[in-house]
């Protein structure tokens, strides 16, 4: 999962997720985008990030009891959202 300046938002979300979910990251994020945001991965936009993070939080929280890990993962995603000018409550 090499870093690239041309990486899409989706790629960046998958890259962060890869550290937590490993090879399942791409499929997991693709399903979250498709099922909850009703979009194709390539159409993911900055405006979708906070909503996507909400869904990821609940889904991942049911896969691990370790809420610290979940919070760390969510914080990384929120940092990414913040880099696009998105903050909770200002979606």
């Amino acid at each position: 999962m090499a870093s690239s300046s041309n990486a899409t938002i989706y790629d960046k979300v998958v890259r962060i997720t890869h550290a937590y979910l490993g090879p399942a990251a791409n499929r997991f994020i693709a399903r979250q985008v498709k099922n909850h945001l009703h979009k194709r991965p390539g159409d993911l936009s900055p405006a979708d990030l906070l909503s996507l993070i909400d869904w990821i939080r609940v889904a991942v929280s049911l896969l691990t009891e370790d809420s610290e890990v979940v919070e760390r993962y969510i914080a990384e995603l929120q940092k990414l959202a913040h880099s696009y000018g998105r903050q909770p409550g200002k979606n």
Binding site: F28, N35, S51, R57, V58, L62, L63, S67
Partner: protein
């Protein structure tokens, strides 16, 4: 007026909101089904008395516990269900309400069979947590088991006199008891057709009870799928000739069409699908059977130019006793068990079945048989 309205609104809404909360609380606590809610971290936030009774835990033992760890879910074969396959997780992965049947492990270690439904709890489009509603299905399972036993016993009992009827009608038809006149032959043919139908129905019922009770026996052999289909085709062609329907089989003699599977079950599947296709296709129509080898599986398609399955009925087509309204009007014979049985048999073979259909155009049923995957155990 502008300054008064917001205040009035607050006054009016306050007791209403309180009432609704109280109503919701009463509803949650008086439900006959168990209900558990979680927060966005999967931690239990509320438990109703029915859930406490089913699980044998006190409310205080469940609140704040992580649901997947505290309430262990097991499949009917006794294995712990993966977190990713639990309804509460699936509902957040798919965004849809999820229902399933499984065992929950009670506090005392006993297993209780439950039917579970899980949904996300949403507020303004944001997921706040989840809710699981479940009911104890011990009694339902017992009734199902008794019903299956009864059908199995009744079917066996019916088969014995039926085989005597078949033997004697065969002897009559073959002239062992004297020559028959035209009217007698016609009557005898009606008896043969009716007893054959009854025999098929008994076989279907017996197979269904075997699938549902998990007692169906598999005898896998290395077979050529085309050869297996060819063995049942002559019987089906007789049925097709009556309606001047053409039946074609497209299969190559390649080694890639060989597979390790149970040929008797494949025959049952093909017989059901092709006879359905013939039954539900108007006179002079066409039925095509195509066998397509793929890397990890063999795909079989049964395509007809029949009346098709109406869109509203398509999601019920594999349900027990289901028959489409457009079909019932045209074809009164039928039990609605054929496709239910086929689905069960394909599951036993570890394959998949699906279809595409358009009303007044036709239907294609597809089923796949895996090359290497071991057939799955029968569903309970």
């Amino acid at each position: 007026m502008e300054t008064v309205m917001p205040k009035l609104d607050k006054i009016i809404n306050r007791p209403l909101s309180y009432e609704r909360r109280t109503e919701s609380e009463a509803l949650f606590n008086s439900m006959g089904d168990g209900a558990i809610t979680t927060d966005e971290f999967g931690k239990i936030t509320r438990v109703n008395p029915a859930a406490q009774q089913i699980l044998g835990y006190k409310e205080s033992e469940l609140i704040d516990a992580w649901l997947p760890k505290k309430i262990i879910a097991l499949s009917f074969d006794g294995n712990i269900i993966n977190l990713i396959d639990r309804p509460i997780t699936k509902t957040f992965l798919t965004g849809k309400p999820i229902s399933a049947k499984m065992y929950y492990r009670r506090k005392d270690g006993e297993r209780v069979p439950v039917a579970v439904s899980a949904s996300p709890i949403m507020l303004n489009g944001k997921p706040l947590g989840g809710i699981e509603v479940f009911r104890d299905i011990t009694l339902e399972q017992e009734v199902d088991r008794m019903k299956s036993e009864f059908i199995s016993l009744a079917s066996h009992q019916l088969r014995t006199p039926l085989s005597a009827i078949k033997t004697y009608t065969h002897m009559l038809a073959e002239g062992y008891m004297g020559t028959l006149n035209a009217a007698q032959k016609k009557s005898l043919n009606t008896i043969v057709t009716a007893s054959n139908r009854m025999n098929e129905l008994i076989s279907t019922l017996l197979n269904i009870t075997r699938i549902e009770s998990g007692t169906i026996e598999m005898t896998p052999k290395m077979v050529h799928v085309g050869a297996v289909i060819n063995e049942v085709l002559p019987e089906l062609l007789i049925m097709a000739e009556e309606k001047r329907i053409t039946v074609t089989l497209e299969v190559s003699n390649t080694i890639r069409n060989r597979i390790r599977t149970d040929p008797l079950i494949v025959k049952e599947v093909i017989t059901n699908l092709v006879s359905n296709a013939i039954k539900y296709t108007p006179k002079e129509g066409a039925v095509e059977i195509m066998v397509k080898p793929r890397a990890n599986e063999i795909l079989v398609e049964v395509r007809d130019s029949g009346w098709g399955i109406p869109a509203y009925a398509q999601d019920q087509i594999f349900s027990k006793f289901f028959r489409g309204q457009n079909i019932v009007k045209r074809e009164t014979n039928g039990t609605g068990l054929g496709l239910y049985l086929v689905k069960g048999l394909i599951d036993v073979l570890g394959g998949k079945i699906w279809f595409t259909s358009q009303e007044a155009v036709g239907t294609s049923f597809f089923f796949s048989l895996p090359r290497s995957k071991r057939p799955s155990p029968a569903k309970k």
